[in-house]
């Protein structure tokens, strides 16, 4: 097996300049003719579909618009439904089981709104520069800051991946599936999805799986939610959670970490690049991100509502793990409702495992200059695929080790995501305000205000957690 060509020149290189000029009209078109890759051809095929839909749209406006949207949605929906992962759904379930209908429902809406604000910036960055997030950080800030940023990503991604496989194992344990079979089957699914050798096919299969995140909706309906109370909570943010304040701070942090995390920034930008999106697709990218936000918010609220019966019946859910929620819900949701809940946990784990392992592989390829596209066959991009599968295999193996500290990982994974987010957001804001990169697509005042507000809120949430941990009595916990 030959080593794929190192794509990143070490010394002499031309300065890059974002452009919307078609490659065929560029000054280097003649040189490019002989250097086209499989990746370029597949991406051109995707671009032709988009161009064709736009061309047809002139006569068939509404139909053409829907077709165009169908072609351009993907990264936004995947990143948000991927982030509705096993630890996130566990966090929402804990919100509902411990505090019922109240503060956490509008709070989840707020955290997803924060998620939309930051993810929209990655769409613009990817569509304008055609480079991944890791690549831009290394290019613009140098190796020193780049490796710091990567350390956060690698640690966060690996721990989250482990938590996903714990979710897969626990979700299927409700149906009596043995851990080895559950985890092995999930790994085979990750492998099957990437063997397509085509970004488009990978994206559609993963979106097909991700839509099963909606299983939490029928589970919530079987819990017969008190809709006026839900409406009241959304409008007034009450009742506020009571009891142990340190525990509330931890749950707030965990709920934020269920919505905004560093891997999402890296993943969506790389997926936008791999999909071949261009500056003129930014509007569609926003719609895609908004669609993902709305779907994920709805499913997250459904997870909260599904576990509210535990709150009403005074069941102590403070030590519940994934499958225990489903088992505890049987008396109120019935076996079907509890099975839907368990299947939802399994789905949440598997889709996130696919997205997060892909995010690690994209970042690795971008940093080390090796081929990094799902449009490449294995022989051309084997380090990319090996990182993708290797990270998934390592996480899966850890889940199967007897007495591994799995509880520890589940406890910290969302918290670490929130704590690592402010530096990632500062890099994002600096990149998206970089006029040399973004030109007319730079952030405006309001976008910056929103981005800075999200960053400050996350820092404050982290500091609140620190105070609650170091001085628990200060909060009356």
């Amino acid at each position: 097996m030959s080593r794929p060509k190192d794509n990143r020149p070490t010394s002499a290189y031309q300065p890059a300049q974002p452009t919307t000029e078609p490659a065929v009209a560029s000054s280097i078109a003649r040189e490019l003719v002989g250097q086209l890759t499989h990746e370029d051809r597949d991406r051109a095929r995707d671009r032709w579909r988009v161009a064709r839909a736009r061309w047809k749209r002139r006569g068939w406006k509404s139909f053409g618009g829907l077709r165009l949207l169908w072609l351009l949605v993907g990264p936004g929906v995947l990143v948000f439904l991927g982030e509705n992962d096993a630890p996130s759904m566990l966090s929402y379930s804990a919100d509902g089981a411990r505090y019922g209908v109240g503060f956490f429902i509008p709070f989840v809406v707020l955290t997803f709104a924060m998620g939309f604000i930051v993810q929209e910036m990655t769409v613009r960055l990817g569509a304008v520069t055609h480079r991944g997030h890791a690549e831009l950080i290394f290019d613009r800030f140098g190796k020193f800051w780049g490796f710091f940023s990567m350390a956060d990503l690698v640690l966060g991604n690996f721990l989250t991946l482990v938590a996903e496989f714990i979710g897969v194992r626990a979700g299927l344990s409700f149906f009596g599936v043995r851990p080895g079979i559950a985890v092995g089957g999930a790994l085979l699914l990750v492998l099957a999805v990437i063997t397509t050798g085509r970004y488009w096919t990978w994206e559609r299969i993963t979106m097909g799986l991700a839509i099963f995140n909606g299983l939490f909706i029928p589970a919530a309906l079987l819990a017969h939610p008190d809709w006026p109370a839900v409406g009241h909570a959304l409008l007034t943010w009450t009742p506020l959670p009571g009891g142990n304040r340190s525990e509330i701070v931890l749950l707030i942090l965990s709920t934020i970490g269920a919505t905004v995390t560093p891997w999402m920034l890296f993943f969506q930008q790389s997926a936008v690049v791999d999909k071949g999106m261009q500056p003129r697709d930014i509007k569609a990218g926003r719609v895609d991100t908004l669609l993902g936000t709305v779907l994920a918010t709805t499913f997250a609220i459904a997870a909260i509502l599904a576990t509210v019966p535990l709150f009403h019946h005074g069941i102590n859910a403070s030590d519940f793990a994934y499958a225990q929620f489903a088992q505890a819900l049987v008396p109120w949701l019935g076996h079907v409702g509890a099975a839907l809940f368990a299947l939802g946990m399994f789905e949440a784990g598997i889709v996130a495992a696919i997205a997060i392992s892909t995010s690690s592989a994209y970042a690795f390829g971008e940093v080390f200059g090796t081929a990094h596209s799902l449009n490449r066959p294995f022989r051309e991009a084997w380090p990319f695929y090996l990182i993708l599968l290797g990270s998934a295999c390592a996480a899966a193996a850890l889940v199967l080790i007897p007495h591994a500290p799995l509880e520890f990982i589940v406890l910290i994974v969302n918290v670490i995501a929130v704590l690592a987010m402010p530096p990632a957001l500062v890099f994002l804001l600096m990149l998206v305000n970089d006029r040399d990169l973004m030109g007319e697509h730079c952030n405006d005042f309001w976008m910056n205000l929103a981005g800075v507000t999200v960053t400050v809120l996350l820092v404050c949430a982290g500091l609140g957690f620190a105070v609650a941990t170091v001085f628990p009595r200060l909060l009356g916990g």
Partner: protein
Amino acid sequence: MSQENATIRKQAAETEPAAAAEAKPNLEDPKVVLSLLEADQVVAAKTHTRFGRRKISAGARLLLWGLRVYVLVMLVIVLISVIRALHGGQ
């Protein structure tokens, strides 16, 4: 003049490539492939170009270092929190 250029560029960007009119484009033809991709979207073009380092102001550097210290301190606090939780110390 620059405004005129911007208008021309915008109009060019809004024009569909000729391949859009074809029911089945020949993607074996490099010209068709290049007509569908932007100049800096082709893999070979990206491998020969880099954006290069930007200047980081003293304030930005201070902010980045501050946040780095924040993350490290917070990781220690997370560790304390988890050890307490695992030993039922809450």
